[in-house]
């Protein structure tokens, strides 16, 4: 990543000096090692603090909503960020000419906690190469399987390269089809056990709304769930179901599977399992790609005369 | 431009000259035709029975091995093109058939490759303008009746070779060689194929040749050994040749006309189109 990081800084510096963009969004050093945080370079010198390594976990797309208010915005975008931006563009929340996107192909971001657990000691740096991840610790340099080191959202990622980059650093990796087998596992549970599974997850939900605030598809100016007639502030099980049902339905056919909601959830609720269920049915019933590639009209905004009636084949465990 | 070449059985036996002139012309036009290794007969007819997947094992294997080599397929005989292209489409669209064939042949393939006829390569890759510039001996004054037959064109939604009722690719090809294509209505009618072979019913072929002759054709050109065989036997003097023979001739190579009945060489010599025997 280091030479790409250098080129990124050089581009950011040029954009800021020539005034193409008012701010360049990327990652900067965090308080703790291996936890870089979103960073907003507002002047050319700040560009040199831009950082791009295997630990940059947060999604950046949502930030453009706020930042474009004062002028054009530059940002670094991996595949998931690119899809997030496409979502905001498809929803007319930002205009393409307001963005200067520096695309980067991403092979996966390391989860610092998982890496430490795998290495058994403090991890200084990491390199993701194909099917293995090399963790550099003070004492050694050993490689581990991807599943032991990477974030969940990266393990299921099928879109390493953003498609709307103005400039792409590194070569493009073609997108793939998402494997939605994890949804089948939940579908196979008997309905009462499935209900207890979800009741247990939602019981932990704090309603802190992190999943909503980090989601590029949840970009409304004001959320209908903030209105008392839709959802009261109480955290009884009925309200918890209403919140998660409505949020999942509202992003159905619009979710780009960036995985940020699951990563942000403090209660460890498998939100991906909710969004992916809609994604699986949209794929099986209406042939919508998984993950959804934002087009001009969302899948629920159109119909085919011969759409199947999905409620017939419903029933246990299909 | 490199392709895996699928000759088909008759091009190694009866239609040797079709094969030789094709290879010569390809070399002349620097199209790399590398013969597919261990190919088998394409089955000659795309089975219409619903559960006849076993007949498609051979074309599937041909396509899969071309895919393994990483190149598209080229073939000459309209029968082979018909079978290979329709198998390719079936594999791409029918998941059940794809999986059964894959399990049986134990080679992974899902319709990624394209199957081309040499004429399509000439039209798309080489382009007829370039072909015209590469011609060494222009076949001026040669009135040729292009004969398409059935399997190149039909069924149109699967073959997508040319306009099913008013095709033009052979006419353009002949003009590129300097010959004059003859327009006659029977160029897309059937030659009687296997029915003619089995029960010697030759009226269909006769009608085609009669119509061509009436339109002033001196020579008929086709791209299918079965059609050639049927058309040759119903007219005493009108020779029937493969399009690659004219192509080889025009590119300054030997047209491999030896032994054909009716013999095209007198006609060609009459128009001083044959290479002078030194």
């Amino acid at each position: 990543m280091s030479d790409i990081q250098a080129r990124l800084r050089e581009i950011a510096r040029r954009l800021l000096t020539e005034g193409h963009v008012r701010v360049f969004i990327g990652f900067g050093p965090g308080f703790e090692a291996n936890r870089p945080v979103p960073f907003f370079a507002a002047d050319p010198d700040a560009a040199d603090r831009l950082l791009l390594d295997e630990f940059c976990a947060a999604g950046l797309a949502r930030y453009v909503l706020e930042e474009v208010r004062e002028g054009p915005v530059g940002l670094v975008a991996r595949g998931c960020d690119g899809l997030g931006l496409e979502r905001l563009l498809a929803d007319h929340r930002v205009a393409r000419e307001q963005l200067y996107v520096v695309g980067v192909s991403c092979r996966g971001v390391v989860d610092p906690d998982r890496a430490c657990a795998a290495a058994g000691e403090e991890v200084r740096a990491a390199r993701v190469n194909g099917e293995t991840v090399t963790l550099i610790t003070p004492t050694a340099e050993r490689s581990f399987p991807r599943s032991a080191c990477l974030l969940d959202k990266c393990l299921r990622c099928q879109d390493p390269t953003p498609r709307i980059a103005d400039v792409l650093l590194g070569e493009a990796i073609p997108p793939g089809e998402r494997d939605l087998a994890h949804v089948d596992a939940v579908e196979r549970m008997p309905s009462d056990e499935r209900y207890r599974f979800w009741a247990r997850q939602f019981e932990r939900c704090l309603r802190c709304l992190a999943c909503r605030q980090v989601c590029p598809a949840c970009n409304c100016v004001s959320c209908s769930l903030d209105r008392p007639e839709w959802l009261e502030r109480g955290t009884g099980l009925a309200e918890q179901f209403m919140f998660h049902f409505t949020r999942a339905y509202h992003v159905a056919g619009r979710c780009v599977a960036c995985g940020e909601c699951e990563r942000a959830c403090p209660a460890g609720i498998p939100l991906g399992l909710l969004n992916d269920k809609f994604m699986k049915d949209l794929r099986d019933l209406f042939g919508v790609a998984a993950p959804h590639r934002p087009g001009d009209v969302e899948p629920l905004g159109k119909f085919c005369p011969d759409d199947p009636e999905g409620w017939h084949e419903g029933g246990e465990g299909t | 431009m490199e392709y895996r070449y699928f000759p088909g059985c008759t091009l190694h036996e009866q239609a040797r000259n079709f094969d030789i002139t094709a290879r010569e012309s390809a070399r002349e036009l620097d199209i790399a035709l590398v013969e597919l290794d261990n190919w088998q007969c394409c089955g000659a007819v795309f089975p219409l029975a619903t559960d006849a997947l076993i007949n498609l094992v051979s074309p599937y294997r041909a396509l899969a091995s071309a895919h393994a080599a990483g190149f598209d397929l080229v073939t000459l005989c309209s029968g082979c093109l018909n079978v290979l292209r329709r198998t390719n489409r079936l594999v791409a669209t029918d998941r059940e058939a794809r999986e059964k064939l894959r399990d049986f042949v134990e080679m992974d393939y899902a319709g990624e490759r394209r199957v081309y006829h040499l004429l399509e390569v000439l039209r798309r890759e080489v382009t007829f303008e370039t072909l015209r510039s590469r011609v060494k001996r222009r076949l001026t004054g040669l009135h040729v009746a292009p004969y398409y037959g059935c399997l190149l064109l039909r069924p149109p939604e699967e073959m997508e070779f040319d306009d099913v009722e008013a095709p033009t690719v052979m006419e353009d090809f002949l003009r590129a060689l300097g010959a004059e294509p003859v327009d006659y209505p029977f160029r897309t009618e059937c030659c009687g194929a296997y029915v003619a072979l089995r029960e010697a019913k030759t009226q269909a072929a006769a009608q085609v040749v009669r119509s061509a002759a009436a339109a002033g054709a001196e020579l008929v050109v086709s791209s299918c050994p079965a059609c050639n065989y049927n058309l040759e036997r119903v007219h005493p003097t009108l020779p029937v040749v493969y399009f690659t023979q004219l192509l080889a001739l025009a590119l300054g190579r030997d047209g491999a006309f030896a032994g054909q009945v009716p013999d095209p060489t007198p006609l060609l010599r009459g128009k001083s189109l044959l290479p002078e025997v030194s």
């Binding site: 007319h92 209908s224 | 209505p185």
Partner: protein, 657 residues
């Protein structure tokens, strides 16, 4: 908290027979917001309505819930009664305790509990309603008719005769449309121009019809009662006001040009009219084929014109008009059979389409009405007519039946026999469809008297043999392949929408079917209306149809326009969607689900937000569900109201107190 009155109807014993109305009234009295609860034997009766009016006045009610029969029965009655007492009619709700309660349940206790719940739901809804005003839309009592063929002229005449202004726009320089190209018409064989030209003259002279020929509609904005239409008048390069119609220019013009009106079999001059009896009888210059525009020379027409009407500098002019209703009568086209190589159309001159045969028959046609072969002008001894070319052919043509070809081909065979007594006509057909009045008898006469030979089967190939055309087909009734040597082959090609039908449909925001024919609002009940209110259809623009049906439909469309213009002002239902701009994010997820394209963009402050055109919106509510942030509300069926209804219906302890 709004003051709500509840009136429970006995409906004689229809409701009281199964539902304990007094208990329902008592329960209603205890519901939050209810300040008055009464029951009465027949609330829909005059005294019943009086009871409501008095209650509104005495109790200063803000809303009324009537527990009675289905809203489809008396919602209007009770709303008018409330309005008479000064209450906003949209604050009256009906609890359906008859059709959906007393009539369908036997157990008195269960029916009463359900009735209370239904009243509870309506009270909950009434508490969350705000007064709605019916939308008053102005009506411009002026109609636009697009298309000057028989359909457009008929509609224009009917509307103008009723006293309203009509704007008739026709793309060609002259009226007449498709019918002007016909020779005679079935089944009466009366000559097309004899019945058409007087009608064109009538239209041209009509005081309330403004004729805009050689013009096209470029843009349609607004909605029913207030359409804003931009109409472009193409440059004719002849000043029609000065021109006296002497046609000297056409006579002297040296440039002969193939005439599309004559299906390219006849010629016209670079300047002139399509056919002699054209109305308005004014020439236009065909810019692509005029020597002056090509090489800057000639100008013969300028020299011969006695009134200097030729003006090469003329430019396209565009005018904006306001109209209240639009009738689309743009007619149809015939399929170009070139896609069907087997018939050799376009390669062999003696293979023509039916419209060309019409021109051969027409006395003002290229051959003066004598049927001659285009190749050598000989009168054909044998003519083969091939039916369903492109029709009933889902793979390579159109799947539908074009309906009129069987009849005009029988006519052609009949006319051919009249003009060539010893000629033989063959007709390759699949089924003869002659369903109109006197149609079947006409076809029988063609077979028996005109001796036409109908061969039931398709044609495989048409190809030349010497100077004749060999038609290879099959006669399925005898089971043999047939080969007919013909002098002339006539293809009955499919009737298809005009080439630019889809663009005009988009302009008008009218749906089309898969082929491009315009969609009617309801195939059986509203055949002349479209889903867009105020836009009507007449003639073949909606589907292939013959002249008599076209005229009938044109009058139907005109009557719809007259019904619209007869109202003082258009009263539109206020139950339409409305956007809360503080919540709207401008994501426009609502727009694609609106069947009426009623949602457009509006700039609010520095943001783009959605806005609903109340004239177009029909209140289906699809957008209110597509809007994730809840900014889109459907008046009368808001989220808050429906949620309150659901909650009231789910209350287990429906008991009062």
């Amino acid at each position: 908290m709004p003051r709500i009155g509840v009136v429970v109807c006995w409906c004689g014993h229809n409701i009281a027979g199964t539902v304990d109305v007094t208990q329902v009234t008592a329960a209603a009295a205890a519901m939050p917001g209810v300040v008055y609860a009464e029951d009465y034997k027949y609330v829909c009766s005059e005294p019943g309505q009086d009871l409501i009016r008095r209650a509104i006045a005495d109790k200063r009610l803000d809303a009324v819930v009537v527990a009675a029969c289905s809203p489809s029965m008396h919602e209007a009655t009770f709303r008018q009664a409330a309005a008479a007492a000064g209450l906003n009619p949209y604050r009256v709700e009906i609890a359906n305790v008859r059709e959906q309660c007393s009539w369908v349940h036997r157990d008195r206790e269960e029916a009463t509990v359900k009735a209370v719940a239904l009243v509870q739901a309506m009270v909950a809804k009434a508490r969350r309603e705000e007064p709605l005003e019916a939308l008053r839309l102005p009506v411009t009592r002026r109609a636009l008719v697009i298309g000057g063929g028989i359909a457009g002229m008929q509609a224009a005449m009917d509307i103008a005769d009723a006293g309203y202004q009509v704007l008739l726009v026709e793309r060609e320089p002259n009226l007449g449309g498709r019918m002007a190209q016909l020779s005679e018409t079935f089944p009466t064989l009366d000559c097309a121009s004899c019945i058409l030209t007087p009608r064109t003259a009538e239209v041209a002279r009509h005081p309330r019809i403004e004729l805009l020929t050689y013009s096209e509609v470029r843009e349609v904005a607004g909605y029913v009662g207030d359409f804003r239409v931009r109409i472009a008048r193409k440059p004719a390069y002849v000043d029609w006001d000065r021109c006296i119609g002497c046609m000297l220019c056409q006579e002297k013009c040296p440039r002969k040009v193939p005439s599309p009106f004559e299906r390219d079999m006849g010629f016209k001059k670079a300047i002139g009219v399509n056919f002699p009896q054209a109305v308005p009888n004014r020439p236009v210059i065909d810019r692509e084929h005029c020597t002056y525009f090509e090489k800057g020379k000639c100008q013969v027409c300028v020299r011969v014109c006695p009134v200097e009407a030729v003006d090469f500098e003329q430019r396209e002019t565009v005018r904006e008009e306001a109209v209240g209703a639009i009738v689309v009568a743009t007619g149809f086209d015939v399929l170009a059979p070139a896609e069907f190589g087997e018939y050799g159309y376009g390669r062999y001159p003696d293979v023509i389409d039916s419209l060309a045969f019409e021109r051969l028959n027409s006395s003002s046609g290229p051959t003066g009405g004598v049927i001659r072969r285009p190749s050598d002008g000989r009168v054909p001894r044998e003519v083969v007519f091939i039916q369903c070319v492109g029709s009933r052919d889902p793979d390579r043509g159109r799947g539908y039946c074009s309906k009129i070809c069987c009849m005009y081909t029988a006519k052609h065979a009949m006319l051919y026999r009249h003009k060539v007594p010893d000629g033989q006509a063959y007709v390759f057909y699949m089924d003869v469809r002659a369903g109109g009045k006197g149609y079947e008898e006409f076809v029988q006469r063609t077979v028996e008297q005109a001796g036409a030979l109908y061969l039931r089967g398709r044609v495989a190939r048409v190809y030349p043999e010497g100077d004749r055309m060999l038609v290879r087909g099959v006669d399925t009734l005898s089971g043999q392949t047939v080969e007919v040597a013909a002098d002339l082959v006539v293809l009955a090609t499919a009737a298809v929408p005009r080439g630019d039908a889809r663009e005009l449909a988009q302009l008008l925001k009218v749906g089309t079917d898969a082929h491009g024919f315009y969609n009617e609002a309801h195939p059986k009940l509203r055949p002349v209306e479209t889903m867009t209110r105020g836009i009507f259809l007449a003639g073949a623009v909606q589907a292939p149809r013959d002249i008599s049906e076209t005229v009938a439909q044109a009058s139907g469309a005109a009557s719809k326009v007259l019904a619209l213009f007869s109202q003082e002002e258009l009263v539109a239902d206020p139950l339409v969607a409305v956007v809360d701009e503080t919540r709207c994010a401008g994501c426009f997820l609502c727009r694609p689900v609106c069947p009426y394209q009623a949602i457009s963009t509006r700039v609010a402050g520095n943001r783009e937000v959605a806005t609903v055109n109340p004239g177009l919106c029909q209140g289906c509510g699809a957008c209110a569900v597509a809007c994730r942030s809840g900014a889109m509300a459907l008046k009368g069926f808001t989220d808050e109201q429906i949620l309150a209804e659901v909650e009231a219906l789910c209350l287990r302890t429906g008991s009062p107190g």
